[in-house]
């Protein structure tokens, strides 16, 4: 933000600026913040993720948007392209080649080649293809950058491929390149993030100026001081938020107690959600959107969400995208719309399909199209397509289905307007900030994560987790909080169908204990509700 403002004040044309963020959410937030303080009549600079820009470039060159595979479909396609692989071997091979590609090897092995052939046959691309395509054009000189100023956020999590791409956007000299990152927040090594990005940049452009940002304007001093204890040597950040931090650590007997404690605390922070709570609770001045519950594993989300729901707290959990968002499902819907003359027909050219086939439904269309691009045999077996078939049946044909899709799309829009307490993974919280953060499940084995095999009591085959990365992940979690941090752990926890007794996380034990307000749950606390008064 500051840099953009500075550039603007220097008279730099914002059209020549590009700001790259790590997630779409971060891009959206940054854009909103820029808009608020942006002078009228001046165009905003481009703010987006690198993948979104790559997609834009592809579309511009090829004249139409490609059909992008979701990660799930990409994996499936990889499996079909390499039928000799199964189970664990398949998973390892996929991870390995994905990592290799992020490190800049286009076709690391024959498995990828098979995969590539398959994608080419059906005119499909995955996200990495977009980057590779762009990179190739840069190398061949077909793409010449139009940006004088390239600003990169969260640079510590870029993969080699992404790094190459962003540096080439800045041109040979690197003039106008500005990257910001925190090495202590590097948590994407498992996806091929470059280990020491600073050194690499310095090698490329020895004149790069290093600026150490030691001032923190987000977190209260207490939170920052606490978090820095995780590292040695201790970073020397200076907090500029003087407000006293709330630092709490709860020991619960089980996950239910832990969740109920979180629910009660949230109600207090919201100032209660009904009259009697407002009268009896302490000043609460937070809105639900100020609060986040961050966990290490997705599996911890549903039980938490359930209890908070029961407390009457508006919560949001990361949702899977509905089937009709898939590009090829959308295409089928457009075909059906077009052929049947239903409303909402766009005028684009779309594959034709005889009316009597469309009328019979998606299964008949599957037979008709079979392997005509962009469709492929695999697509007809995908979960999104089977969802479409089910919806077609349960809504009694296209018309009902389309109505449902319209309604759902409308609901998605409403849903996105509502403010809620967010429950998400630590990885998902990257780049975000909240007044209050709950960190439940701080048990050795969960954070630091010891791998699923470990938790299942099996011999660990899925590799030894990187303790440093886990530590940084915990650090990311702690520093999402501005004022209040509620950590908790359980004596007993049921996870993946097993009941486990894991001790308190070694990371928490490493923190200075005297600043934490500790509490322990022994028994269930029964709350009784009182008749409310209205004054």
């Amino acid at each position: 933000m500051g840099r953009v403002r500075y550039l603007l004040d220097q008279g730099i044309d914002p059209q020549g600026m590009v700001i790259l963020t790590f997630t779409r959410k971060a891009a959206r937030e940054l854009k909103e913040r820029l808009e608020q303080s942006w002078p009228q009549g001046v165009a905003l600079p481009k703010v987006d993720t690198i993948h979104a820009l790559a997609l834009e470039y592809w579309t511009q060159v090829m004249g139409e948007a490609p059909t992008i595979l979701s990660e799930e479909s990409a994996r499936k396609l990889f499996a079909v392209a390499n039928p000799q692989l199964h189970g664990k071997a398949l998973k390892l091979a996929w991870d390995e080649q994905a990592l290799a590609r992020e490190r800049g090897l286009r076709i690391p092995n024959s498995l990828t080649q098979n995969f590539l052939d398959y994608k080419a046959r059906f005119n499909l691309v995955d996200y990495t293809d977009l980057l590779e395509f762009w990179m190739e054009h840069v190398e061949l000189g077909q793409y010449v950058t139009t940006y004088n100023h390239v600003l990169v956020d969260e640079v510590q999590d870029l993969s080699l491929l992404q790094l190459h791409l962003v540096t080439s956007l800045a041109g040979k000299t690197g003039h106008g390149f500005f990257a910001i990152g925190d090495p202590n927040q590097a948590i994407y090594a498992f996806r091929g993030a470059v280990h020491d990005i600073e050194t690499m940049l310095l090698q490329q452009w020895p004149e790069t100026k290093r600026i150490h940002l030691l001032d923190n304007y987000r977190s209260s001093k207490g939170i920052l001081d606490l978090s820095m204890e995780l590292f040695s040597p201790r970073p020397m950040l200076v907090a500029h938020v003087e407000q006293r931090a709330v630092l709490a650590l709860l020991k619960a007997q089980n996950a239910l107690q832990e969740a109920q404690w979180i629910g009660t605390k949230i109600l207090e922070l919201l100032g209660g959600t009904s009259h009697w709570q407002a009268d009896h609770g302490q000043e609460g001045a937070l809105s639900p959107g100020d609060i986040a519950v961050l966990v290490r594993l997705k599996a911890l989300i549903p039980p938490l969400a359930k209890i908070l729901h029961e407390h009457g707290i508006p919560v949001s959990v990361p949702e899977e995208e509905p089937f009709f968002v898939d590009a090829r499902i959308a295409l089928i819907l457009r075909i059906a719309n077009h052929v049947l003359g239903l409303p909402d027909t766009p005028g684009e050219d779309i594959p034709s399909c005889p009316e009597h086939i469309v009328e019979k439904g998606p299964l008949a269309m599957a037979v008709y199209f079979s392997a005509t691009p962009p469709f492929d045999e695999l697509f007809w077996k995908s979960s999104v397509f089977s969802d479409l078939v089910k919806a077609f049946q349960s809504f009694g044909g296209w018309k009902g289905l389309m109505n449902m899709v319209r309604l759902e799309t409308d609901l998605c829009a409403i849903r996105s307007k509502a403010q809620k307490v967010q429950i998400m993974t630590l990885h998902g919280a990257k780049g975000l900030e909240f007044d209050t953060v709950f960190l439940p499940g701080l048990e050795e084995g969960i954070l630091p994560f010891a791998g699923i095999d470990m938790l299942l009591g099996k011999l660990a085959e899925d590799g030894i987790p990187d303790m440093d990365e886990e530590r940084r992940l915990f650090y990311v979690g702690l520093t999402r909080a501005k004022h209040r941090l509620f950590m908790s752990h359980c004596v007993h926890r049921k996870i993946f169908g097993r009941s486990l007794k894991l001790g308190l996380s070694s990371f928490v034990r490493q923190l200075p204990q005297d600043v934490l307000q500790k509490s322990t749950f022994k028994q269930h606390v029964h709350r009784s509700e009182r008749q409310l008064s209205l004054f």
């Binding site: 009904s274 959107g289 729901h309 004054f535």
Partner: protein, 460 residues
Amino acid sequence: MQNFIADLHIHSKFSRATSKNLTSHNLAAWAAVKGISLLATGDFTHPQWMEHIQRELEQEETGLLRLKHNPHLEQEVPWFTGQLSAENLRFILCTEISSIYKKGGKVRKIHNLVFMPHLDAAQRFTSRLGAVGNLHSDGRPILGLDARNLLEMVLETDPQAFVVPAHIWTPWFSLFGSKSGFDRLEDCFEDLSSEIFALETGLSSDPEMNWLWSALDHFTLISNSDAHSGEKLGREANVFSGEMSFSGVRSALQRKKCATNFLGTIEFYPEEGKYFLDGHRKCNVALEPLDTIKVQGLCPECGKQLTRGVLSRIFELSDRQVPIQPENQPHFSSLVPLIEIVSEIVGTGPKAKKTLTMYEQLLRDFGPELDILRITPVEELQKSSKILAESIRRMRQGQVFRHSGYDGEYGRISMFTPQELQEFKHGRMFSFGKNSTTDFGDEVGLRWRRPVTERDKTER
């Protein structure tokens, strides 16, 4: 034209902290006891309550609902030995939504009433709202939905559907509440502000308080009980005349010429509220807003910040020194629940058997409670009890002692002084009626209602 009383904001047993026997039959029985003919269903977004509504009620063409079977209501209020009928009772689909969200950098907590013109619309609305949040855990769902967006959803559901902001001055949960409300209605509902035509004054304010602010002149001010148990039904309510139908009620609230008219409200004394005046409970200090300004908001005893009350909040936003009744705004009457009146006379608590016995006798002799409080001639009542008749006469004329609430301390309304009651107990009849020398005094909490000139006189 027939008058009818409507209570448009109540809850079912599926809301939090409500009586567990709040079913449609129980509501119907209490409506008969009180004399209410139109009752909100409450909580229609709650799946189980909606199921109950569909099982027990049937849709009429008027947009209202009625009980399917004529049930035996007597078992719902076992202490009552008379007859009760739900023959003329109708229900209107209504629910309260609690919105908690951030807007303009501040946390807002606002309650709104949503009215639906038929079951079908109510169900469509519920299914859309279900996408926003959890409707199962509370009959009054708590959503992170901006009140403006809620209003938009309501309007999109049906052109007849409408929203009324609930108890607009309650500090924590209302449109103008001091803790988490707005300073202007337009800041809350933005482009859709013109779709709001009525406001619920709530227990914490009466129309007179709202007449201090000219911005509210063009809204119809309604009052409801927000009851969480049967006996609280109708403690505040609305009086209509003419046709009882959804569109009639809607048009009357919009002040359109139609077959239904809005005649005004039945009010609680807002002084009873525990945050009426500014004050400090620990120091026993209660002040009217204008006096609070004089001491700069600090407690004259301990020097700490005073807890600000509802009246003070109204003064903060309002633009008049004295309430002025706008043209077209109907009158209102302030009542005290009959059980409290009886309790004061009998000298036992409102739940005591002695109190209940007299209450029951009165209902059997004179009909529904709201009739007794509002209509039954004093002479008639004298036949039953002289002191009750006097009590009700004083109440109707506003000759009551108002001990205003402040800083969490409940206020109290009484019709007699302790001496008067004492004298009555010893069989001596004091002077009733116009000759009464009882001074209703220059109580704190009352001065603001009087014209400025008169106010000055007392201050000097």
